[in-house]
């Protein structure tokens, strides 16, 4: 039941009490899509209002609240408190399988540590992409080891405690050897399907980046 506007305006020759003015700017700032200048506030409020003063009161009222008054340029806006930004985010965690390239690189590091990038590449037969190493570093499954005392003093990679914890190993030496892998049936001589990366190994720079889209997903089978 809205009252006629004219009537209200006429009855407000005297400026409304400050508490009322505070309510008014509160409502205007809340509903406005853009920051509002003091001048604009005064224009919209009943004659004789003092938006600047009302803003001082309102700002004080919202101190420490979940919503704060902010000044941008000479305009004012209400915003959620910066420390509560996390409430505006929704994080979903998705777990994916490591790519084949990452697993192979990780396996080589685990079995051969400390190992240089060049050595990993030699064993894998393909170059190792930066992304793969970075990913493993970020997961904290590998870290830099001591530099090798060979020309160029290349950095080496070793696996971390986190790696051992994740895989339930006491030390990297506990990893089963080739013979054990074979007797465990993990080395059955089954031909690789023709479409698998590594089939024309050597040309395949890095299976991560070179694969067509369709194949890409397959690597993340989950």
């Amino acid at each position: 039941m809205s009252e006629p506007v004219e009537e209200r305006d006429e009855s407000l020759f005297e400026a409304p009490p400050m508490g009322e003015q505070e309510r008014m700017i509160e409502a205007i700032l809340f509903a406005s899509a853009e920051p509002v200048t003091v001048r604009e506030l005064n224009e919209r409020m009943p004659h004789g209002s003092d938006a600047a003063e009302a803003l001082v009161h309102l700002r004080k009222r919202y101190e420490g609240r979940g919503v704060t008054l902010m000044k941008t340029g000479d305009a004012w806006a209400m915003r959620t408190a910066p420390d509560l930004g996390f409430l505006m985010r929704r994080e979903t965690v998705e777990t994916r399988k490591l790519s084949r390239a990452a697993i192979e690189t990780l396996a080589i590091i685990a079995y051969h540590q400390p190992v240089t990038r060049a050595e990993i590449e030699e064993i894998r037969g393909v170059s190792v992409s930066r992304g793969t190493v970075d990913q493993l570093l970020e997961m904290e499954w590998i870290r830099f080891g001591r530099r090798k005392m060979t020309p160029g003093r290349p950095v080496t990679f070793v696996v971390t405690q986190e790696f051992l914890a994740h895989f339930g190993l006491e030390s990297a030496r506990d990893l089963p050897g080739l013979k054990e892998l074979r007797s465990a049936g993990l080395l059955e001589s089954r031909p690789l399907p023709a479409s698998m990366p590594g089939a024309d190994q050597g040309e395949d720079e890095d299976s991560d980046t070179m694969l067509p889209d369709g194949d890409q997903t397959e690597l993340f089978e989950d």
Partner: protein
């Protein structure tokens, strides 16, 4: 009350008639007989619960008469209502016939009164509803709603088995080498046969065998060789099955085939 009585030129009646005429002018403004009845009932200036249905029926019939006189075409449902109200009027005026089946005139009148009251009530309710403070008119939502940003965090995982299999794959790759041959440039006999079986149905006339090479095998020499060999072998197979005929004009001339009907 009779029709004569109704037409008597008392000031009140004149007002009624003027109202009726005014109504006729914008007959299109009515949303049907019930709406018209409700409007007419207002001229009785009494509580809808105490309305005289008999009087209302007479008003309605008079309205329809006027409309006819002014040659205003009324929709069928107005006329249906008129007929029914005439029937109701007679029921209300005549003493009840014990032989008659169905509801009495009073019951019918009561229901009509109920319908009118209900329609009016709904109209009042609608007006109150629309008069409420409304979102976007009287009260307002936040001007700059903040979207909830949805971030997807991806964590990667692997099992020990993945790890060992991965390692085994690398270390034993050489064992697999013979199997990992490049089959990209090979068009097998099976593939050629399958392709030919599907196509020979359309070979009603002599067609060059080279037109049956699969797409992408025509240019690269290695691929072309493979496809030509397998396609040729396939045609021989099909000829043996009696599905096609083959011919060659001369040594090294193009080989042609045709469906055998």
């Amino acid at each position: 009350m009779s029709d004569d009585d109704f037409d008597a030129a008392t000031p009140e009646r004149i007002a009624d008639r003027m109202a009726a005429e005014a109504l006729i002018v914008d007959v299109d403004g009515f949303e049907g007989p019930l709406d018209l009845l409700l409007t007419l009932s207002r001229t009785q200036k009494v509580d809808l619960r105490k309305i005289s249905i008999l009087h209302l029926a007479q008003q309605y019939l008079a309205f329809v008469e006027k409309a006819r006189a002014l040659r205003i075409e009324l929709a069928a449902d107005y006329l249906v209502m008129a007929a029914w109200l005439a029937f109701l009027k007679s029921r209300l005026l005549l003493p009840p016939d014990p032989e008659e089946e169905g509801p009495s005139g009073e019951e019918l009148a009561a229901h009509l009164a109920f319908q009118l009251e209900r329609l009016q009530a709904m109209r009042d309710a609608a007006a109150r509803l629309m008069g409420r403070d409304r979102l976007g008119r009287d009260f307002f939502a936040r001007g700059v709603p903040e979207e909830i940003t949805r971030t997807r965090r991806i964590t990667y995982t692997a099992t020990l088995l993945d790890l060992m299999q991965g390692y085994a794959r690398i270390r034993t790759r050489d064992e697999f080498r013979p199997y990992a041959m490049d089959r990209d440039s090979i068009w097998s006999l099976e593939q050629a046969l399958e392709r030919m079986r599907g196509l020979i149905g359309f070979a009603g006339t002599w067609t060059d065998i080279s037109t049956y090479l699969p797409d992408g095998f025509g240019h690269d020499p290695a691929r072309r060789r493979s496809a030509t060999a397998s396609t040729f072998a396939a045609t021989l197979e099909l000829a043996k099955e009696g599905r096609i005929e083959l011919r060659q004009a001369d040594t090294f001339a193009p080989i042609q085939l045709r469906r055998k009907d």
